[in-house]
């Protein structure tokens, strides 16, 4: 097995173009499990941890560009104020050791329906920046996932970064699992309420073949909320929002939970996060 060790982004893209079969490795928290258990024997690994550009983030106009290689720990510590929904999700990933290494780029690369970074990216309408020697393209995150563990990433492409609008305060994320640490989500839900633009964003995890939005729930809520009112969300609105979120999911029965449980839990998470986000954004 070859081990490719680019030290710049240009070298990394050239290496991926020359060795499209090489498996990129960032934090290794998914890749190494597969190697350790002999589930994968790629002809080459492409180590991205020496590419400094991947670990940088910064603002560009009213959008933030966050490098694919920024680990969860830094998302929490450095971006918790600007991207609170993503930081909430990051806090639930694995354990400190996992958050020290694992990256959002790796989460996207694995494209698991249960990846915890995905719902907040969906709720915020993030864009994923993909690059190759052919050029750069930005893909809306809801077009990124094409199936369980599959995405639009081409064999010669790498994930460079994601772009997101910093939230004010109306971001929430909630996840169901058997304990607080170290759990793959039974299901998860992220919500973004933007009072200024009067928009609603949603993201559902672990309850469909890919992470998905709930567009009907978003449209209903945006139209039903009394955006100027300081009062609480009417219970009937919250209940219907929960129902529409659950309806957007396409869950299955598996070892972690049944489809029926997932639907029920999603409607509860949707109602709760709505209450928290509405109060948080007042």
């Amino acid at each position: 097995m070859d081990f490719l060790r680019p030290s710049t982004w240009e070298e990394a893209l050239a290496a991926k173009a020359a060795h499209p079969e090489a498996v990129p490795i960032a934090g290794g928290t998914d890749v190494m499990v597969e190697l350790n258990f002999d589930r994968r024997r790629p002809p080459a690994l492409l180590d991205l941890t020496r590419v400094a550009a991947l670990t940088e983030w910064g603002g560009d106009g009213d959008l933030l560009r966050v490098g694919a290689g920024v680990p969860y720990r830094r998302i929490i510590e450095e971006l918790g104020g600007r991207l609170p929904g993503l930081a909430m999700a990051a806090r639930t990933v694995g354990s400190p050791q996992i958050r020290n290494r694992g990256t959002v780029g790796g989460n996207l690369g694995s494209a698991s329906p249960a990846g915890d970074a995905h719902p907040p990216l969906l709720a915020a309408g993030a864009e994923i920046e993909l690059a190759s020697v052919r050029g750069v393209r930005r893909v809306p995150v809801d077009e990124f996932f094409t199936g369980p563990k599959r995405s639009v990433l081409a064999p010669d492409e790498l994930i460079a970064a994601f772009w997101m609008r910093p939230a004010r305060t109306g971001d929430q994320f909630a996840k169901i699992g058997t304990r607080n640490a170290m759990v793959i989500a039974v299901c998860s839900f992220a919500l973004t309420l933007d009072r200024e633009r009067r928009t609603v964003g949603t993201g559902i995890g672990s309850a469909a073949p890919t992470p998905v939005r709930a567009p009907a729930a978003e449209a209903f809520l945006a139209a039903s909320l009394d955006w100027d009112s300081p009062g609480a969300v009417p219970p009937a609105v919250a209940a219907e929002f929960g129902r529409l979120v659950a309806a957007a999911a396409a869950p299955i029965d598996d070892v972690r939970g049944t489809a029926a449980y997932r639907r029920h839990a999603l409607s509860v998470l949707a109602r709760r996060t709505l209450t928290w986000a509405w109060e948080g954004s007042r």
Binding site: G27, R41, M182
Partner: protein, 147 residues
């Protein structure tokens, strides 16, 4: 592949390394440092925790090639001090398999926080499993070490 890195302050070299093997394997099988334990090889148990460039990580999830030129500190490289003494005094060691990883994790916690609260301690140790002690004695040891 030849691997060069600094381990516990010493420049070390290992030959015939398969690039996809883990840093844990390199430490235990090639560099004669069996302190870091291998219990799961999937990041779940934390018994392989080491510092990589100053950050605690599961060495079973670091590809050997990723450690090239990096600085690794294993449990063997930590000076015997308040953390290890507290584990002994509190009875936080039974079979001892989880202990090296816990010692590194607690060492890191106390370097970051002087007087960690109980929730801080639980959070910091969430990635370290122990099948013997039921954790109470481990919490006692951390509180003792922090005194």
């Amino acid at each position: 592949m030849r691997l060069n890195c600094t381990v516990n302050g010493e420049k070390r070299q290992a030959d015939d390394v398969w690039p996809g093997e883990s840093l844990l394997y390199v430490l235990r099988e090639r560099l004669g440092l069996p302190g870091s334990k291998n219990a799961c090889e999937q990041g779940e148990c934390g018994s392989c925790t080491v510092y990589l460039d100053g950050t605690p990580v599961c060495s079973c999830l670091v590809a050997a090639g990723q450690a090239e030129g990096r600085a690794v500190v294993t449990v063997e490289g930590l000076e015997f001090g308040r953390v290890q003494e507290a584990f002994l005094a509190a009875g936080a060691v039974q079979c001892g398999f989880c202990t090296p990883g816990l010692v590194v994790a607690v060492h890191d916690l106390l370097a970051r926080a002087d007087k960690p609260s109980d929730p801080d301690i639980r959070e910091a140790l969430a990635g370290n499993l122990c099948r013997c002690t039921g954790y109470e004695k481990i919490l006692d040891a951390v509180r003792l070490a922090a005194q």
